[in-house]
């Protein structure tokens, strides 16, 4: 990928040339990448592996040990006694983790950092994995937010996406969560799957809402080259995502969600009662976070880096007490401005308008792409669908 060739080489000592006092001024988040799946989904290009793809040295247990090494390494690099605002177990399939592994990791975090009193700990879960036993273990470990990979309620769509669960599992698992008092859960939905009708999408949203989540993410499917669906697209086995239909689906989702008391706070995210994903907001607000695990991305005070993708390469570095980063970039002033526009625009809180010319702003307002809320530029519905074009117009 181009980003690696353009980026700086990451030093093996992992040192950061920053003013460490800055770290105390912003929330600090932790991302833990669990690179395991029972089976790879047809659309997935994430850094994840099925058991057969890895040898014995890189199964879950050694991954957890190496992650703890990375936690200790982070403590050494960051120097300060940081308070962790949010933790996010992402993947891969974090719901594959056992009670033992989760507590092992959280203990390591507590030993090296402090957890905020109101720490938000999210775990991504596959509906198939949500059992009473798992829920009990999550609760024991202070996990207070579950993000369920529902994707769709349509059997046909789930099949196209290679997902193994069904609506029965989704309903059963969310009922279990509620029964145990884990009410702060979110559904991840995917729209635009080839063959999905507008009606099927509407049914998916309505089904999700019937289970009373606090939060909903709706992502437009992107068929990436190299995935199974990417290959099917190339050989014309499936059709590409229809962007016009996807636009209709987005508008429909927004309308239904608003009717049910949900409100958008980021282009692809809606919540009720302001139960936003604090973790994801930290990304979009350019706060600091350390991503642990193979291929994970980090951002600390204007420096971004990403870890080696292969679990064994990542682990071997840590065993030598070296940084597992593959490459890093120290953001230039221009890049920081680009990111500020790109990230703030995605949020309902918007982008400070005062740095932009009135001509550009008026043009965007006239074209029904943005509106002014106090002194912030906020995307209109049309603008949310054309956010990349708004970005290009603003970032000149």
């Amino acid at each position: 990928m181009a980003q690696e060739s353009e980026a700086d080489i990451a030093p093996l000592d992992g040192n950061l040339a920053i003013d460490f006092n800055n770290l105390l001024k912003k929330p600090f988040s932790v991302y833990i990448h669990v690179p395991y799946c029972k089976k790879r989904c047809g659309y997935c290009d994430f850094n994840t592996y099925t058991p057969s793809e890895l040898d014995a040295n890189d199964q879950v247990e050694s991954w957890a040990k190496a992650t703890v090494k990375e936690i200790e390494f982070a403590k050494k690099i960051l120097k300060k006694d940081l308070i962790i605002d949010t933790i996010f177990f992402g993947g891969g399939t974090p719901s594959l983790l056992s009670n033992k592994e989760i507590s092992f990791l959280l203990e390591a975090l507590k030993e090296n950092f402090n957890l905020a009193n109101d720490v938000e700990i999210t775990l991504e879960a596959n509906p198939d994995d949500i059992t009473e036993e798992k829920i009990t273990s999550w609760l024991e470990n202070q996990i207070n937010r579950i993000s369920i990979g529902m994707q769709s309620s349509s059997k046909k769509v789930l099949q196209t996406l290679d997902r193994t669960h069904d609506t029965f599992n989704i309903k059963k698992s969310s009922n279990l969560l509620k029964k145990h008092g884990l009410k702060n859960f979110s559904f991840d939905l995917i729209y635009g799957t080839p063959g999905e009708s507008l009606k099927e999408w509407q049914e998916s949203i309505e089904f999700a809402l019937s289970l009373n989540p606090t939060h909903l993410s709706a992502y437009s499917l992107v068929i990436e080259p190299g995935t199974k669906m990417g290959k099917d697209l190339k050989t014309n086995k499936i059709q590409n995502v229809n962007d016009d239909l996807s636009a209709d689906k987005y508008l429909l989702a927004d309308e239904i969600l608003e009717q049910h008391g949900f409100s958008w706070y980021e282009i692809s995210n809606w919540s009720s009662n302001n139960l936003n994903s604090r973790h994801n907001l930290n990304y979009w607000k350019n706060n600091n976070w350390w991503g642990f695990g193979p291929g994970a991305h980090s951002h600390i005070d204007g420096i971004r880096w990403w870890n080696l993708k292969l679990p064994n390469q990542w682990r071997e570095r840590l065993e030598k007490l070296q940084s597992p980063a593959k490459a890093r970039e120290v953001l230039t002033a221009d890049q920081k401005i680009s990111e500020e526009i790109m990230l703030s625009l995605r949020l309902k809180s918007g982008l400070d308008s005062r740095k932009f010319s009135t001509n550009i702003i008026n043009d965007l307002i006239k074209n029904d792409l943005i509106y002014l809320h106090e002194h912030n530029l906020v995307l209109t519905k049309r603008g949310r669908l054309l956010a990349d074009q708004v970005f290009v117009q603003l970032n000149n």
Binding site: F46, V222, I267, Q335, N367, L385, D388, V392, N396
Partner: protein, 617 residues
């Protein structure tokens, strides 16, 4: 054999034989010439390289000869006399018909060289007719008789039928192995008449080629008809009256060698120090400036561009480089003309005139290869003569010059075309020619299964993709040649392409009124595929004047937003957006519509690529 036996300038005319080789590409002309150089001993075995006489890389790669050259070969005839054979190489392509005619005019004989596995091709036939018209002796020869696929009997009969000889009179050679080449040289001595001229008359020499050389300036190749040319003499160009001093005079054998002059019937080179081939034009007569001849040799003609195209640098900052490059090419190419042109879609460039499609391709390729220029060319067009209702006459070479006022009549250039095809494809070929507004004159069976068709066709109809179509309809078997043949009145209209109401100059075209609709439909649908969707709906229309004849609509874009950042990979997303931003910078504005330059390039290439394939013929 000692090359000094007959020193140049002193060779008696009766010992000179001037001849050329008429052949289709790949039928082995260059190989035969190589073999002659070897057998006559002018090139030693160890210095031999394939296609010795073809100078430019492009020529060598494409196996075609763009510029002719003459080489002096000593040869002892069967009568034991020491002869001088001057092999005058002819350009092998349709675009250079005039140069071919001048090369032929410098000869008394021509070898008609035909591939024994393929038979005669249209282009060869056209040049053969030129040779027959100029009354020179034709020696029919079949080449490549060593090939397993050779059918010497069949093609000997075909050639005999065309030339009017007996199949047995067709000599069979293999230029590759050398078989039959000695016999061929002996036959040249016997069959080709010696040149005839008045040694005591004022000097007259015809220029049959003129080449720019970085070190020596223009090298002019001549055939002396009367009198004698001597070094240090003042010579005069009879078309312009310009005089020059002869700095050097000599022969090529096969490297240039100065001589004490050139006499009647001799062929050689002159150097006068001029720096531009247009001062030493093919077909012009050179005479002595002190004792000039009264009358020039007949046949001089100015090269006239027939096909026009705009050449634009893809990177606008290359414009001055393009200008310099064209200036340099023109030093060696009297037929190339150009003037500055600017286009909304393509920026600044040059409108260039060419002899034909191959000439266009060669110039384009030299600009890219020798000058490292990345160019886009508009679809080739032709020149028109337009008579307005008030009687005023306008000549245009660019659709954008088409007048707005009332037009009375439009004249377009036409060509006489020769098509050779296996008889099984006569139907499709006739259909194609008819579709291109062709008028058939005659149809001859060259042999049982090969037919020659003669048509008059509008030039505009063949510059587009005629040859391509012809090849595809005949599985590649047909061959094609044409020569300019004046003009005709035609029902032509200018079709404009409008983007969101604004005309896109690069896509305006002059077409026959019956084809305006299909041109409009094709262009609008092609652009629809190439132009990205905008934030508003964009109509693409084809119009004749104010009348819309075709329309497509690019619907407004509704969704252009990146999906989520996975695990905080902000970098990837920023790079994608920066790429989008860079893309926007390369956009050209046509009115309110942003069009990537690549779209113009692609839209034009689809049409001009067809023309470009012509080069492969």
């Amino acid at each position: 054999m000692n090359p000094d036996i007959n020193p140049a300038g002193q060779t008696p005319a009766e010992l000179i034989r001037n001849f050329c080789i008429i052949a289709h590409i790949d039928h082995g002309k260059s190989t035969l010439a190589d073999r002659m150089l070897q057998i006559t001993g002018v090139v030693e075995e160890r210095n031999m390289r394939a296609q010795y006489l073809d100078r430019m890389d492009i020529e060598r790669e494409r196996g075609i000869t763009i510029k002719s050259q003459a080489v002096r070969l000593p040869w002892q005839g069967i009568d034991n006399k020491n002869y001088i054979l001057n092999l005058i190489d002819t350009p092998g392509h349709v675009d250079f018909t005039y140069e071919v005619s001048r090369s032929l005019a410098a000869c008394e004989g021509a070898i008609l060289l035909v591939d024994a596995a393929q038979g005669i091709e249209a282009q060869t036939l056209a040049n053969l007719y030129l040779a027959i018209e100029s009354d020179i002796k034709v020696i029919p020869v079949l080449n490549k008789i060593d090939l397993p696929a050779a059918q010497p009997e069949k093609y000997a009969a075909e050639i005999a039928n065309i030339v009017g000889c007996k199949p047995n009179d067709v000599l069979k050679v293999s230029a590759k192995t050398g078989q039959g080449v000695k016999e061929l040289l002996d036959l040249v001595v016997v069959e080709v008449p010696a040149p005839v001229g008045d040694a005591n008359a004022p000097a007259r020499a015809m220029i049959f080629d003129s080449v720019y050389d970085t070190y020596r300036g223009v090298v002019t190749y001549v055939r002396v008809v009367d009198g004698k040319l001597l070094p240090r003499e003042k010579i005069k160009m009879m078309s312009s009256g310009a005089t020059h001093e002869l700095l050097d005079i000599g022969v090529i054998s096969p490297e240039p060698k100065s001589t004490k002059g050139l006499g009647v019937g001799e062929v050689g080179y002159l150097i006068t120090g001029v720096k531009d081939v247009r001062q030493s034009r093919v077909g012009d007569t050179i005479t002595d400036s002190i004792k000039p001849a009264n009358k020039a040799l007949s046949g001089f003609r100015d090269p006239k561009p027939m096909v026009f195209a705009g050449l634009f640098p893809i990177d606008g900052s290359d414009y001055p480089l393009l200008r310099d490059a064209l200036d340099k090419l023109q030093l060696n190419d009297a037929a190339l003309v150009y003037e500055p042109e600017s286009s909304v879609a393509l920026g600044f460039g040059y409108r260039c005139g060419f002899l034909g499609l191959l000439h266009l391709e060669i110039v384009r390729e030299r600009l890219s290869r020798e000058f490292d220029l990345n160019l886009i060319s508009t679809a080739p067009s032709v020149g028109y003569r337009i008579v307005m209702e008030d009687g005023q006459e306008i000549s245009i070479t660019n659709p954008s010059e088409f007048p707005n006022g009332k037009v009375n009549e439009i004249f377009e250039p036409i060509v006489k075309a020769t098509i050779l095809t296996p008889s099984e494809y006569i139907g499709p070929v006739m259909e194609l020619a008819q579709d291109r507004r062709g008028q058939m004159h005659n149809m001859d069976y060259l042999s049982e299964d090969r037919v020659e068709l003669r048509y008059t066709l509008p030039l505009a109809e063949i510059v587009f993709d005629f040859f391509d179509q012809l090849k595809s309809k005949t599985r590649g078997y047909a061959s094609f040649d044409y020569e300019p043949s004046g003009e005709q009145s035609a029902q032509l209209v200018k079709v404009d392409i409008l983007l969101h109401g604004d005309p896109v100059d690069a896509f305006s075209s002059i077409v026959h009124k019956d084809k305006a609709y299909s041109y409009g439909v094709e262009m609008t649908s092609r652009l629809k595929e190439l132009i990205p969707r905008q934030q508003f709906e964009v109509p693409i229309q084809a119009a004749i004047g104010s009348r819309i004849i075709a329309r497509e609509t690019i619907r407004a874009i509704r969704k252009d937003v990146l999906a989520k950042c996975y695990g905080g990979d902000i970098t990837r997303k920023r790079k994608l957006l920066e790429k989008q931003k860079e893309g926007k910078k390369r956009m050209k504005m046509v009115g309110k519509v942003e069009v990537p330059q690549e779209a113009f390039v692609a839209a034009l290439q689809t049409s001009s690529e067809n023309g470009a394939k012509e080069k492969n013929k």
